[in-house]
Symmetry: C2
Amino acid sequence: MKNTLKLLVASGDASPDMRYASGLSTPDEFIWFGTDRESGVVMSALEYNRACSQVRSGVRVYAETELGRNRLEILTELLRRFDAAGFVVPAEFPLGLAEKMRSAGLTVRPVDGCFFPAREFKSEPEAAAVAAALRGAEAGLERAVGILRESGIGADGSLIWEGAPLTSERLRSEIDVVMLRRGLLPTGTICAGGRQSAQPHHQGSGVLYANAPIVMDIFPRSGATGYWGDLTRTVVKGRPSDELLRMYDAVLAARELGKEKIRIGAVPAEIHRAAASVLESAGFRTGRSAEGDFGFFHGLGHGVGLDIHEAPRLSPRNEIPLRGGEMITVEPGLYYPGLGGIRLEDLVWLAPDGAVHTLTRAPDFFTVD
Amino acid sequence: MKNTLKLLVASGDASPDMRYASGLSTPDEFIWFGTDRESGVVMSALEYNRACSQVRSGVRVYAETELGRNRLEILTELLRRFDAAGFVVPAEFPLGLAEKMRSAGLTVRPVDGCFFPAREFKSEPEAAAVAAALRGAEAGLERAVGILRESGIGADGSLIWEGAPLTSERLRSEIDVVMLRRGLLPTGTICAGGRQSAQPHHQGSGVLYANAPIVMDIFPRSGATGYWGDLTRTVVKGRPSDELLRMYDAVLAARELGKEKIRIGAVPAEIHRAAASVLESAGFRTGRSAEGDFGFFHGLGHGVGLDIHEAPRLSPRNEIPLRGGEMITVEPGLYYPGLGGIRLEDLVWLAPDGAVHTLTRAPDFFTVD
């Protein structure tokens, strides 16, 4: 029986699979292919030299011109050289290219699920790369907490820093600058205060206020390694209400229980449900009103690696037991329109040997004077 | 005859088409669909509220739960509601999802070329958004030139700034910090010195030296609007060789001729060839040696908008005349392994009325004392 060739056509910047397979971070797309025994990339003139010096060890670099005059010729030539019957591609492979390949007589079959299942299970160097990105997120958070500490409170409760209103935008940019100086790429850092904090994905905008929660969700990617870190803390400058304090305690307890449940063989859906029931037992209901969703209405966590959201999901639908090697966030939250939101996120590595490492070192402060 | 529905399934962050159609910048993917008369987005619980407040005017927001229990149900329901026979999708639509849709009896047809051809032709507000991003790139460049000016030269010719060797990484991070503070997202800023500058896409690493070219290619994206700016300048700290000076003059002349040729009806391939012949007439050959490509071996320019590389290309293969509205870079370069590279990039808006605006304001300095 003939081989099939694994095939990617993507840029290293946009595709974690491509970065994983080739080791290359490129703005423009190129071809990677692999058999069980060997793999290669096919580069344009513009990228050829750089690819030779930066490609992942063991991956051979081909120049486009040595294989064909256009993409279809190159792909046809690859099948011939490797005596392969067709290509296997990831689910997100571009439909337009797949149809052109099929019109030219090439076989293209998308896989269901992960293209490189091994990506889910992190080695020690990969865990170190995630931890390094996380250290940058923590440095950003430390800067933000320092700014909140330095800030004054205006007559209307608004925060004032260095003589000007402290906005979500200013706070975010100060966090991002710290990360950038460490070679991390900030990507949508969340600094959402007050009512905005009740929307888990609101990036935050406008003036920040005292006595109200500020959710800071910081997820930089390392320019050097491509690996992400992920960290969330919620902070109040001044005095939180008793209701917010109870929410905070419940979310913290849910996170800690979630982390305790992580071990080889544990079922993600059960971990999610255990954390959710901590919140419910504390009296915090989940549901939907005219104002939108309230309570705990997202998954407990997700895998982190070369992608910020990857397998495994700690969601009520994931029944596949953990195997060891997973890098997972544990991030319960409570959100009530009008009151605000609390989310606390740690990053946990379930090592291949079954040891559980909380990579996050940031303290769990809630209030800042 | 029944309608077809245009369909996107993508995140606003990753897909310029999605950002264009929905106005939403989101980390997670969602559904956008449109007929000739109306359009809508289908949001998860997590994104619903934010979408309602940030969606592009005229686009209706649906909750997933009101249309179906999963993606296939939702898509089937959309066809029913809009009395449509099938979906038209962009070429980069994910193959895996297309095959699942087809297995469920849904018709999916990818378009060849641009999904929203109107994206190529920029209105005045769009041109202003690009110009705003470009102003940030220029501020970054100004900072870099200031640092080069402040730098001393060590005994071995290396640059020294604030008591430490000036590296590509440090210079890049200082440029990026300036842009970040202006709400721009830095994305792969190039600061390539010496031999690295001979590779057009080399990001640059290690210590920078006097009397050698430093190519700075700066292309930030605005977080607020999603539009990109693009700017390249080449600078020498100290004294360039006569050869480098001749290269610089030729590249500058090629860029200016390229800009002069831009007008409604002009053919991109001819503009490229005109600029290329300026370089050849000045004695600079293009070709390939054992060390790689040399001379002028990339396209003269590309469109810029919600994507950093989009239509139209100023390439020898693009024979489609300009129509007015295009936003185009003009960026000839010369690259010789061992000697280094020179690239100079301006951004030009060919307004719909035929007026040609050079948006770039940065000076064309070559040497810095």
